[in-house]
Amino acid sequence: MLNGLRWIVYAIAVLAMNFPVIVTLVTSFKSARELSTNAGLWINQPTLENYFRVLSDTSRFNIYIYLANSAAAALIGTGLAILLAFPAAYAIARSEAGRRILLPVVVNLRAVPLIIFAIPLYMMYQWLGLLDTQLGLGLILTIVNVPLALVILVNAISDVPAELDEAAKVDGASSLQVMLMIIRPVIRPALVTTFIFGFITAWNEFLFGLMLTTSRAVPMTVGSSFFFAASGGGVQWGTASAVMILGALPPALLGLLMYRQISGSMMAGAVKG
């Protein structure tokens, strides 16, 4: 009985939260003709023409390059954020230093609309030759990701009993060794979570992609908006939907793939408890 209720709640939650995605998926299989007469969730004449147009029209807009740019920039932006945040998080969690100033300041970066840095950054990038490069975009995404990475990692390391470190230290390990050999494996789920959230955030970032790239390093979010105006300046819902689905696919696949890893280690951790 209660279990039945659980299934119902689950189904409602999944449907409600994914509704826009479901609608977009359905729309991406409708022709322009059908769209103007049928707004329902049923497709009378499913068609692949929207996907075909998006994937084949590479002379106009090369979606493959956008995807590659997004992937490269998001990987840099996430990997580097973790590399920078992990040692800092360890120091904060274990020494109280930085808790008063560094942590609040970095966390606050999340609260600031980073767009205010756009103009100075633009000038700096121009000077450094980072404009319109994957690396340049990746470095900005690192800044976007650092605050959340730091919060999650500080929290995770604080949850690890300090006795563990102390025991290792008594055995003669340096703090660097403790960090890499003891802490890292224990907080692996948190690292994975950080990576997933970071990658998704980076992939989905729009404004810096817009401001800092022009042609070579255009990411998917920006590139996909090229398709929105396929004719006459309006939104072609069918084409736009197909692009949105394709653009959402990589982070979605990654999330779902990595998810098994999280849940696996999570369960293991829970059992070991």
Binding site: P20, R110, A111, V112, I143, W237, A248
Partner: protein, 288 residues
């Protein structure tokens, strides 16, 4: 003895601090200069320092306070709703999910879609003639409300934000919930605690740090919301859905009032710094 001594701590901070100084230090200095200057797009390289006029004009701007109030309300309402629904789902669905972890996948999906795209998707979903929601409402009830007019826009935007980001809170809570050691639960059961009592007196307090963090993160994200609101309603009729981020963006790009935009951001930064320090201080007090 601290596990990490002072010198080592400094070493561990160095990469992060160095990186941030490099990439944000210069822009921050430029911005601080701009915030006390008369500057527009033509004089970017030669701003004239004129004092605190920008700050005064921001503080005296009715629209600034209106956007602060919008962001504040939006942040609190969405964070609360996301945490409550997320907590309920995490605990209520836990038995289901423990057995079939694959069920997590559909619940996590919304997190992976770009908010700017979600805004666009809802432009389709809610359109009276092209969107399924009004289509079925007309079909079944013969009428459909105006989702994005002045009276409903705030509610609609809240629902859009909550539906996309509840999974975030849910995920954190679920992880915290299953991480509660088994023996704690067993001990509670042995003491004859009902499951509700165990939840209220044992499990929730154990999850409290996660709850606080999730609420805080969601509040900040709600407070600085930009992408989906901008895509869906822009700044809204008469500026009624102008979040603080949109206010700054507009001042910056649309009005070319760079000094004003930057001054508003500095104020925002200082305000959130104060709030965070107070929070930290409170946490410190409790620990003692």
């Amino acid at each position: 003895m601290a596990i990490v001594n002072r010198a080592e701590g400094r070493l561990y901070f160095t990469p992060l601090v160095g990186f941030l100084l490099l990439f944000l230090g210069f822009p921050a200095i430029v911005n601080l200069v701009y915030s006390v200057s008369t500057v527009n797009f033509e004089t970017l390289r030669s701003p004239t320092i004129t004092g605190f006029g920008n700050y005064l004009s921001v503080l005296g701007d009715r629209e600034f306070w209106r956007s602060v109030s919008f962001s504040m309300r939006f942040g609190i309402v969405t964070a609360l709703a996301e945490c409550l629904i997320g907590l309920f789902l995490a605990i209520f669905l836990a038995p289901l999910l423990a057995r079939r972890s694959v069920l997590m996948a559909p619940l996590m999906l919304p997190l992976m879609v770009a908010p700017a795209m979600v805004g666009l998707m809802y432009r389709l979903v809610l359109h009276e003639f092209a969107g399924p929601v009004p289509y079925y409402l007309f079909e079944w009830f013969g009428d459909s409300p105006a989702f994005l007019d002045v009276n409903n826009a705030f509610r609609t935007l809240v629902v859009v934000e909550v539906l996309q980001w509840t999974p975030f809170a849910f995920l954190l809570f679920y992880m915290a919930y299953v991480a509660i050691p088994l023996d704690v639960r067993e001990a509670a059961a042995l003491d004859g605690a009902t499951s509700f009592k165990a939840l209220w007196w044992i499990e929730l307090p154990l999850m409290l740090p996660t709850l606080t963090i999730a609420f805080f993160i969601r509040f900040i994200d709600g407070f600085r919301v930009f992408d989906n609101v901008y895509a869906l309603t822009g700044s809204g009729a008469g500026g009624s859905t102008t979040s603080l981020s949109i206010y700054i963006y507009h001042a910056f790009f649309k009005q070319g009032a760079i000094g004003k935009a930057v001054a508003a951001s500095v104020l925002l930064f200082l305000a959130s710094l104060v709030v965070l320090c107070v929070l930290n201080w409170l946490a410190g007090l409790r620990r003692r």
